[in-house]
């Protein structure tokens, strides 16, 4: 075949194509425990053997590969470890207005939870600041990460 790029209208056919499906994922006791607690308005982490608390909880300690122990309560407040400002959110992302992505180390946790902070402007964001979880109304919660609608600066905006 000739290697030349042709121009539009050279007879090449194009068509829209959609890939759409919904996976139904089983959760198991650890992730299931975390999401059940979110539905109940609480945040849990997994205890590691040396006292670290993994949030969000994984079945195995990411550092030692040991099975984790009990789920313990953490947050709802915590510290922003690092953040980045999303000026142009996409329709799938959690908020429909500019927000901050943030890795948040909740009180009592050792690792960071990725979520969004509804700070209003990048000027209100700084690494090290405290934020707190804003849960959706109980009737809207279903056992999903977005049962936490977003985080907000502690003490209000």
């Amino acid at each position: 075949m000739p290697d030349s790029p042709g121009s539009a209208g050279d007879g090449v056919l194009r068509a829209p194509h959609v890939l759409e499906y919904t996976y139904t994922r089983s959760l198991g006791p650890v992730i299931g425990g975390f999401l059940t607690a979110l539905r109940d308005g609480r945040i849990l982490g997994a205890s590691a053997s040396d006292g670290r608390v993994v949030v969000p909880p994984t079945e195995y300690d990411p550092l030692t590969a040991e099975a984790v122990g009990d789920l313990v309560e953490v947050g709802p407040g915590g510290v922003v470890q690092t953040w980045a400002w999303a000026e142009h959110p996409t329709p799938d992302q959690p908020l429909d207005r500019p927000f901050a992505w943030a890795l948040i180390t909740l009180d009592g946790a050792t690792t960071g939870l990725l979520h969004v902070v509804d700070a209003g402007s990048p000027a209100a964001m700084t690494s090290g600041m405290r934020v707190t979880a804003k849960f959706r109304p109980e009737a809207e919660r279903k056992g999903h990460l977005l049962d936490i609608e977003c985080f907000v600066p502690e003490g209000g905006r």
Binding site: P5, P62, A84, T111, P122
Partner: protein, 357 residues
């Protein structure tokens, strides 16, 4: 078995790439790949019948069709049937598999090819599908957002400034002017680039990779076979890859332990390198990789322009190996390191050390 150093000497003997462009919407993947495979063979006067093993890297999600990678074999012609494998990853990792095949003595030559068209789909969205499905994907973070978190962490740790990112971008795109295959090339200063808007702060447009469609291929050969085929093979003296935890918040994003360990296993530190081709799609990541690889000031980093000049999914990593091999084979480098990455924020990293005969 062979560890990261290998028992058999294996070399890169040929490398070819398509022009790396923003949008290939005339040819499909097979048509895009065919000239590349043709060239990687004709460079050294071999045909598909000379290949003992074929391994490819690509991602069906880029095409939007399952098992689409199988049709790519039409670009090679697999009759009579050949030993063949595939990874849903960058071609660099397909090269690793081919290298292990040669180490096992099951073949003396291997064709590694890879291709990726990002233009047909929603790249930002589909890359979120590689993340933790319970804790990360539901937020639909795009790769720029994740890299921006990493860049901010670097700044917070006092290890970088936004101006550093601009310097890296300016240097890379200027160097790309000498690379006919590169996509983004210009001679703009870092000061000028700092006027770009943020895409996701602290990353401005210049710190991001382009969206690229492209293909590439490499031929590996072992021992005497390599010496028969070319005068100056680029010998792989060490190759290794490591992966970090899937849990983003459990990683130190300002360092790359997986790169450091892979480099140690590959014996990188045993002697100086003069050229480093690093697969750093975001300018901020080059700093992390330089530190993890222990690269000093005298090393020429990404003379090809790197992933900031062209970043075809599933291809840019193999191109780093190909460009480093070309430098060694052309006498521009005595000892080079090539790096490839996969996953968010440098989660998985491959290090390959190449030496002149």
């Amino acid at each position: 078995m062979a560890g990261a150093r290998g028992r058999r000497p294996v070399a890169v003997v040929s490398f070819a790439q398509s022009p790396q462009i923003r949008r290939e919407d005339h040819r499909n993947e097979v048509e895009m790949l065919m000239p590349v495979v043709g060239e990687v063979f004709s460079n050294i006067g071999v045909t598909k019948d000379d290949m003992g093993f074929i391994c490819s890297g690509s991602a069906d999600y880029l095409v939007g069709a399952p098992f689409s990678f199988v049709t790519a074999l039409d670009a090679v012609g697999v009759w009579p049937p050949r030993r063949e494998s595939h990874v849903e990853m960058d071609g660099a990792f397909a090269l690793y598999e081919a290298w292990t095949m040669l180490q096992a003595g099951d073949a003396d030559t291997a064709l590694v090819y890879c291709f990726g068209r990002s233009s047909p789909g929603q790249l930002d969205k589909l890359l979120a599908l590689q993340l933790d499905p319970y804790y990360l994907t539901p937020l639909w973070p795009d790769p720029v957002a994740l890299a921006a978190l990493q860049a901010q962490a670097l700044i917070d740790a006092g290890k970088a400034t936004e101006a550093d990112f601009a310097e890296i971008a300016a240097r890379s795109r200027r160097d790309a002017l000498a690379n006919p295959a590169a996509q983004v090339k210009h001679d703009r200063s870092a000061d000028e680039l700092m006027k770009d808007d943020y895409v996701v702060a602290p990353l401005r447009r210049h710190a991001l990779p382009p969206i690229t469609d492209g293909a590439a291929a490499i031929v590996l050969a072992a021992g005497d076979r390599a010496r028969d085929l070319v005068e100056r093979p680029a010998w792989i003296t060490g190759i290794d890859h490591r992966i970090e935890t899937h849990a983003l918040g459990a990683r130190d994003l300002t360092t790359s332990s997986s790169t450091r360990i892979a480099a140690e296993q590959a014996g990188l530190g045993e002697a100086p390198v003069d050229v480093a081709e690093l697969h750093a799609p975001f300018a901020s990541q080059e700093l992390i990789l330089r530190e993890a690889l222990g690269l000093g000031e005298g090393v020429s980093v990404n003379p090809s322009g790197g992933a900031l000049a062209a970043n075809a999914m599933m291809v840019a990593g193999l191109i780093r190996i190909g460009e480093a091999a070309n430098a060694v084979r052309a006498g521009r480098s005595r000892r080079a390191v090539a790096h490839a990455t996969s996953g968010p924020c440098l989660q998985q990293n491959l290090v390959c050390v190449l030496e002149a005969p």
